[in-house]
């Protein structure tokens, strides 16, 4: 009895000129933004739902449902002034009650909301009037606004929450309204003419699942899609020139990394980790695995916090001789073997990265034994830190605390796979989150990055590009580092 999914309703669409087709490899998995982990789900529901605030493509917080906000001097109270005249897609008006209900739903442990741990600082929510929301915090949290900007903190209607219809038929305040879902095949949205940011020019937006990226490319060549989302640099590399599309590259927030398990064997030794980090020429990894697309990066990928990628390392990465001597100094002149998990399937460049890193490390006598696992087993092993090293593509965030807090603060949810306990790192992260002074934050996070490179718990290699094949008739599309498709709102 799910009302949303009658496949028979949708018509064969390539003929309809008013339909804007986005091709991507995966499907959405849920209709509840609070529970959405899959990246495609966030991408889609982010167009249907709005958040209190949003991030600009350069990482600044901007108004969305809230037009203004003020943080008290002690950092424990935040006031939001809400936009007026906003209506839900089902027609009812948007009020502060909706915000309160949404936040309470996220904080309710039973919901299992993804954003709960990031909003846990919220003690209570007040709604003095329909247009004002006040958040009371248990401690100052500079990352709060970033957390609120996430799709996982979308505002749902209080009515839907109390009726229990959330996750059945999405009803948001965003630019696009829910139309239908044919699991494994497509999701259809329609432009919301009453959208407060102006009615989108796209009347009908369709996300189509094309599992093979090469096929997406072929579809673009044939003009079957208006926008194709590609993550495999190999495929992008094949795209070449065409009059039916253009290729847009956008460095993403997520980063490619060789995670080391600092609680195991030789890797316990900081000098060993540094030696490994030094031995790897990041650029070479990027060249071979991603055909040179992307940017060599340090730990922090947010454009708002740009620091040197190697400051803190006692070497220039790729300096094999140096690395070798460091390893010898640490007592491992003969090298050792690391069992490295590599995901197959969703993460296209993993194999290539692994092979290149393997080849590079072999020069200092470190043997990577590659253990290829499909997603499920990989995740299990990753979570259990059941590896010496892991080739990973980890998600990034505009806010460095949100990025690394869960790994390197004590009690962080991903402290186990992080593979290293460091009070210095934990302190720096807490410090960075406790202040909202931007200068101080810049300073703290610079130290964080440096310390991460000194400790070298992992070896950060590069930020890859996301690729967008943009149909030749499409104007106004701007990709974002967080891979959301906000600009579709204004695309024609």
């Amino acid at each position: 009895g799910l009302a949303a999914c009658s496949p028979s309703g949708s018509k064969n669409s390539s003929s309809g000129t008013s339909t804007f087709v986005v091709a991507r490899t995966g499907d959405i998995d849920k209709l509840d933004p609070h529970l959405a982990t899959a990246f495609q789900t966030q991408q889609t529901l982010g167009l249907v739902y709005s958040t209190l605030v949003q991030t600009s493509s350069t990482g600044e917080i901007q108004p969305d449902l809230a037009t203004k906000w003020t943080t008290s001097s002690d950092g424990r109270t935040v006031d939001f002034t809400l936009r007026s005249g906003v209506t839900w897609q089902d027609g009812s008006p948007f009020t502060s009650g909706d915000v309160k209900a949404s936040i309470r739903r996220i904080l309710d442990q039973k919901t299992g909301a993804v954003a709960r741990s990031n909003l846990i600082a919220i003690k209570s929510v007040d709604t003095p009037d329909d247009a004002t929301v006040v958040l009371h915090l248990s401690q100052p949290s500079a990352s709060l606004l970033y957390s609120l900007a996430s799709v996982n903190s979308s505002i749902e209607s209080a009515k839907d929450i109390s009726a229990g219809t959330v996750g059945k038929k999405p009803n948001g305040t965003g630019a696009f309204a829910w139309n239908g879902w044919n699991p494994g095949q497509q999701v259809v949205l329609t432009g919301n003419p009453k959208y407060y940011g102006g009615a989108p020019k796209i009347k009908k937006l369709e996300f189509r699942v094309i599992p093979d990226e090469s096929s997406i490319l072929s579809g673009m060549k044939a003009g079957a899609f208006q926008l194709g989302l590609i993550s495999d640099p190999g495929v992008a590399h094949q795209a070449g020139k065409s009059d039916t599309y253009s290729l847009a590259k956008q460095p993403a927030l997520s980063y490619h990394v060789l995670m080391l398990n600092g609680r195991k064997g030789p890797l316990k030794n900081q000098q060993v980790r540094q030696a490994i980090s030094c031995a790897i020429d990041r650029n070479q990894v990027m060249q071979t695995a991603a055909y040179g697309d992307g940017a060599v990066t340090g730990p922090i990928t947010s454009p708002a916090f740009a620091y040197s990628a190697t400051d803190g390392l006692p070497c220039t990465p790729g300096d094999v001789a140096k690395a070798r001597s460091m390893l010898a100094a640490a007592g491992y002149a003969k090298g050792f073997t690391l069992t490295t998990i590599v995901e197959t399937g969703e993460y296209a460049t993993a194999g290539a990265e692994a092979q290149n890193i393997q080849s590079q490390l072999s020069k200092i006598g470190v043997t990577l034994q590659l253990k290829q696992l499909s997603t499920g087993p990989y995740v299990s092993a990753w979570l259990a830190a059941d590896y010496d090293a892991a080739v990973a593509l980890n998600g990034g965030s505009y806010d460095p605390f949100l990025m690394y807090g869960r790994y390197f603060t004590s009690g962080g949810s991903l402290a186990k796979p992080a593979g290293l306990d460091s009070s210095t790192l934990a302190d720096l992260l807490t410090q960075g989150n406790a202040t909202s002074d931007s200068g101080k934050r810049q300073e703290t996070f610079r130290n964080l990055q440096k310390e991460l490179l000194v400790e070298s718990p992992w070896v950060w290699t590069f930020r890859s590009d996301d690729y967008y094949l943009v149909g030749s008739g499409v104007h106004g599309f701007t990709p974002r580092p967080d891979e959301l498709l906000r600009s579709l709102t204004s695309v024609s």
Binding site: C5, P7, K11, S14, R208, V209, D212, T375, L383, L414
Partner: protein, 320 residues
């Protein structure tokens, strides 16, 4: 007409097979590391509190011992309920119902094309063994057998796009009943790709059967009656060669069902193969179980059908 006892025992056998398939897939799935929670939450599942984890395990039913899960599943199946997908919450029955027609049509169409092509080429080659036409067809069939499906599939998709600016439409699957041309635009090319290896196999069997049957005593009898070569070919040689060809088609059909996994991936067809593949990577047990069971049912049905057909074609096996 029909031999009911035969059919009865055949159906019973099929049922036992299906039960076996059910148990095997159930057990095999549970030996693979990872579970529904890690599959649906990915690395975020590490952030779950023990209470959250327990409630999710209860929700997915994976907190019970495996035989209890198995029993629950089997009794569900008996009521036509294949469970709910763990990844998108849809009923497996509805997921399978929407993807089944795609795969069935894909497989049937490739089988038809493959058989037609294979038989024609096989006869062409077999009726003049050793000649150039024979060597040529045989060579072509070998190449057909040898090219990996995914290479051929990618090549076709690329070629269509580059040369003809054509991409097999992959919106919602258009059933044959609602638009023949719309349906064909989606199904035809993948079917052709799948049909290549199929045709190659049929061709080889047809050829060797043809050559063999052409030596049969009754063919000599027929020639001795003064029949024209064409008649001898159609009503004697080919007619008898149909039995092995039908048998082969049945067996091959099973492989076709498997082959759809890759082809549906490349041609972005929303069929069972893709459903299955996605479900396997997502550890979506109910979907994997349901899909495999349905594919097995299909396979068993096709074999039953082949047996029936075989009995219909071959008077010797027909009930007296």
């Amino acid at each position: 007409m029909l031999n009911w006892r035969w059919l009865g025992s055949r159906l019973l056998g099929a049922l036992i097979t299906l039960l076996g398939v059910t148990v095997v897939v159930f057990v095999v799935l549970r030996t693979i590391p990872g579970n529904a929670i890690t599959a649906s939450l990915g690395i975020e599942s590490g952030t779950l509190t023990p209470a959250q984890r327990a409630s999710l395990e209860h929700f997915y039913g994976i907190d019970r011992p495996w035989f209890a899960q198995l029993w629950a599943w089997i009794s569900g199946v008996a009521h036509g309920d294949l469970g709910l997908s763990l990844t998108n919450g849809k009923s497996v029955t509805s997921l399978v119902a929407s993807s089944l027609p795609v795969t069935v049509e894909l497989a049937v169409l490739s089988a038809l094309i493959g058989t037609a092509l294979g038989v024609v080429l096989g006869v062409l080659a077999g009726s003049r063994p050793g000649r150039a036409s024979d060597s040529l067809t045989q060579g072509a069939s070998l190449v057909g057998l040898a090219i990996p499906e995914f290479v051929l599939g990618t090549a076709v998709v690329t070629l269509l796009a580059e040369a003809f600016h054509y991409f097999p439409d992959t919106g919602t699957f258009v059933p044959l009943t609602s638009s023949v041309s719309g349906n064909m635009s989606q199904i035809l090319y993948p079917s052709l790709v799948l049909a290549v290896a199929f045709a190659a196999n049929v061709m080889r069997t047809t050829r060797s059967e043809y050559v063999e049957m052409a030596e049969a005593d009754y063919v000599r009898t027929a020639r001795g009656k003064g029949l024209s070569p064409g008649r001898v070919r159609t009503s004697h040689i080919l007619r008898n060669a149909t039995i092995p060809i039908v048998t082969l088609t049945g067996i091959q059909f099973g492989y076709l069902l498997g082959g759809t996994v890759i082809i549906e991936q490349i041609f972005a067809l929303p069929g069972m193969g893709r459903l299955l593949f996605t479900a396997i990577s997502n550890r979506d047990y109910p979907v994997v179980q349901g899909t495999v069971l349905v594919i097995a049912v299909l396979f068993v049905l096709v074999n039953l059908l082949v047996d029936l057909l075989y009995r219909m074609i071959d008077p010797r096996t027909r009930a007296a």
